[in-house]
Symmetry: D2
Subunit: 312 residues, 4 copies
Amino acid sequence: MEGTFKRPTNQELLLQEILQEALDLPLSGESANYIPALASINPNQCGIALANLDGEVHVAGDADVPFSIQSVSKIFGLVMAMLRMGDDLWRRVRMEPSGHAFNSIVQLEWEHGIPRNPFINAGAIVVADTLVSHYSASKSALMSFVRGLADNQDIHVNQDIFQSEKMHGSRNAALAYLMKSFANIDADVNDALDHYFYQCSIDMSCRDVARSLGFLANRGVQPHSGDQICSRRDAHRLNAILQTSGMYDQSGEFAFEVGLPAKSGVGGGIVAVVPNYGVICAWSPRLNQYGNSCLGMYMITRLAKKLGLSVY
Amino acid sequence: MEGTFKRPTNQELLLQEILQEALDLPLSGESANYIPALASINPNQCGIALANLDGEVHVAGDADVPFSIQSVSKIFGLVMAMLRMGDDLWRRVRMEPSGHAFNSIVQLEWEHGIPRNPFINAGAIVVADTLVSHYSASKSALMSFVRGLADNQDIHVNQDIFQSEKMHGSRNAALAYLMKSFANIDADVNDALDHYFYQCSIDMSCRDVARSLGFLANRGVQPHSGDQICSRRDAHRLNAILQTSGMYDQSGEFAFEVGLPAKSGVGGGIVAVVPNYGVICAWSPRLNQYGNSCLGMYMITRLAKKLGLSVY
Amino acid sequence: MEGTFKRPTNQELLLQEILQEALDLPLSGESANYIPALASINPNQCGIALANLDGEVHVAGDADVPFSIQSVSKIFGLVMAMLRMGDDLWRRVRMEPSGHAFNSIVQLEWEHGIPRNPFINAGAIVVADTLVSHYSASKSALMSFVRGLADNQDIHVNQDIFQSEKMHGSRNAALAYLMKSFANIDADVNDALDHYFYQCSIDMSCRDVARSLGFLANRGVQPHSGDQICSRRDAHRLNAILQTSGMYDQSGEFAFEVGLPAKSGVGGGIVAVVPNYGVICAWSPRLNQYGNSCLGMYMITRLAKKLGLSVY
Amino acid sequence: MEGTFKRPTNQELLLQEILQEALDLPLSGESANYIPALASINPNQCGIALANLDGEVHVAGDADVPFSIQSVSKIFGLVMAMLRMGDDLWRRVRMEPSGHAFNSIVQLEWEHGIPRNPFINAGAIVVADTLVSHYSASKSALMSFVRGLADNQDIHVNQDIFQSEKMHGSRNAALAYLMKSFANIDADVNDALDHYFYQCSIDMSCRDVARSLGFLANRGVQPHSGDQICSRRDAHRLNAILQTSGMYDQSGEFAFEVGLPAKSGVGGGIVAVVPNYGVICAWSPRLNQYGNSCLGMYMITRLAKKLGLSVY
């Protein structure tokens, strides 16, 4: 019976159309190459997923290929720390846009070891430090949390990337020791860094990422499970930080052109939250000058425009 | 007949309640005192206005007292420049949050004379420069524009403040000359500064400000007149810049706690845009450490919370 | 009679030998070109003069061609200000090496408008401000002072360069206004800048410069006249500032390789003081990456080495 | 027989007179207190030694009490590295004054991990890195070198201070990791830091320090042994760096007021080189705002003035 054939929805058709537009663009940008394990990824992969609040996920392209989520993982660490620390967290990291590179040590020095927000590296290391200090086994706690959010036990850390990150982590170590000198790292610096690099090395697919963050678009409630992950207020706050600080030094332009809270990673992933609507995750490894995925930016911008998703 | 008596609406009652809460708070903060004309204002005044998309304005307290709008005026200049210059404007000023003081010269130097956004002083001076260069009489063009938006011909520049600003304007002159040295000021530096100081010296009431900016909440259409002031896209973009950069170095926190695009001025005014809902303007001269009105922040935060106005 | 023929001294022979070595080097560097009047100078000119404490001056090459002394003039301004202001001067400008570009505005901001030393532009503008404030006609006072020191009434300001400097002076204006905003400029900013640009535009030959600064090598007493120009202590102090701050961001290297107090200008001149011995001035317009004359550096380094002139 | 009684020389009498003047000054400044082992030193100790080129050392006060030489040790490390590395060293560290705090990370970032000179912490860590990389046992090589220079086998590392330095070394670790991220640290970061902290923890008396550095005043030849420690040229160069960069952010003022190459440490020691004359070492723990010994500065300034020792 033809009843078993599922017709593509309008959203799926739109995703496929936008994916095709992206693939037809002239190639531009390069993959991240600061570690070999990232440089060796096929740079021409491209996928997109849209998770709706009804729990359904529409996809196109390589949306089921796991990729290195890198800085997208900072969201997971931050949610865990907000849940565990409450407002105490905000005495150790601010929530202001930085106006500097994600790994700036200059600003950290000026501001006496208090990172401007949890999405620059220094801020994410402080967050990692709080998790190391508050959990007996912070790495497995993180994996449980992420797998639960994505409703997928088959999410793993990429060991090659994890080892590579640790071997190329001098600059992050500099940030961590500088914060330690201002008494803003509690745990052993190596432990905080170990957690931080571990978190960055998680592999997830577009589908996983989009599903896992549905609660940010849904006032704290995970759409597919009905679980209250965080308070409505904290969901709002997370979106606010994503909006002002999630896209590196292109955050302002992204708000300006797209109007959605979002976070990108140097693995080529970008996740955008559409309050009261859903979550988009796009992935393609080639990066622009700001470290954001070229095709990921293109696809999310197009989708937001076509569907009128701007919060403004 | 009692028919002539107009009962306060729910919104009016709410504004009055919040105003009273604000007035009951212990005094904190000081008025701006870098020029005598601002230091001499009665610091305990306090007002709030909410302009709805139906054209109605609800008010409480000193909402009809004209105050020095100062940096709130940067919105008016920016809208004029966007209309006149189109996307060329964004080659001379970026749209990224700054992460520095509003009058930082350090960042301007690093970024080769291109201000990070139009709401820091350097950016607003570039905007002023474009207006001086594109209008034969930029100051009267500005006043016509503002009066038209507010539908009030009785809006004026405070000459005392204008003269004071010019006499205390060395730092802004330093910003302008530095940009000139990077070829990012076209007009005579003195003319650009003159326009800039003039714009900062406009007096408006909370009612005026809230009414004048209704189009930002209404996809570019002015609610009370039906005029299309700017494109829907530009209204979105203006809101995005307000969100990431409008509240000095408290922009991130304001997005985090309130979730609305907003702009403040050292005269004590704050205007917040609620997309598809309306515009709030609060005023009270005492400023917190970031240069934002203490009671203004309080009232807008309360109102946004009570009415659930966050865009997230 | 052959008695009228004056045989070259050993010093003259040495200067000629070193000049020839310099001229035999492969060409490198470019003349300053930020103003047309400097860019049009024949870049291959080269001269050197050595003024001894007995009043004699030995020369080689284009040592009698007047050139734009530019920042070398900062010495004259500083001596005048030290004589007029005494130790009060050092409340408005420090005597520390800067570690930044000669025209850095960043450092000036950090240090609240107090320039690190009188040889960076900001410091020389403060010095100019004190002269404008303390002399009824500071520019003619300067010319009298310089002509007297050099014992040459035929020293003039190059009007082309003076006008050019004023037209390209936005960055110096930015420095001046920033200092004004910190209350470290007393006179009208335009007057201080006018004096500063005038001073930079003096033309002198190597012979003039070397003769004029003999007192720095002679405990404050001008060798050819016997006049006490400044105290022995102030001569020591001037040499100290020249040593730590006179050669832009190559001051440390110059002390390291040559070991003499010195000052250079973008016109291609360099003057070096040899305490208790004499003063060397070399000139050639092509500049290295630090803004110091390539051949000037070469000749002074060679001469210092051959004669064992290092103070260390 | 009275023949065994040695009459104080004129120099000794002068040292005693100056010491007495210093002790009569009102107390000012505080000892370094960032590690307990330094904070617990009796702050009122005060000594001075003058080593002449004939091998004699004159002393006054606590000149034979060993103190923590701290940054004075950077001279020893630098001499060893210059001898071992030759001019290659100067590709990894510059010789320019810094214009920033001794432990500035901002400047290091701007200059891509190349420290401005070997006397700021970052520079001394690079020097330590070269020693660790070039010696199989760099710490014992250092001790042999220092003991040989001072002709005193009874010079030791203070283990309390060494352990304390390591426990409070986060900021130096941040500097080292930042340089590692710019590929300017070859060895393991921990090994380089270990050597650096060890070197800082040497205890020596004024007599030891003054004797050990005699070669800097004597064209590279150690006065008491006749050994050629380094070339005449390298002795000149070391003095030049001391002059421009040895006294923290008071280097310019020290050159200005005293006119001698010098190095200070937060243990309260200051050593000054008088070319062709001798070496002075003064010690007293209370520090001024720049981290230089208050009484040490006073005594050296007085001595230099009384004896006319300025190189200028």
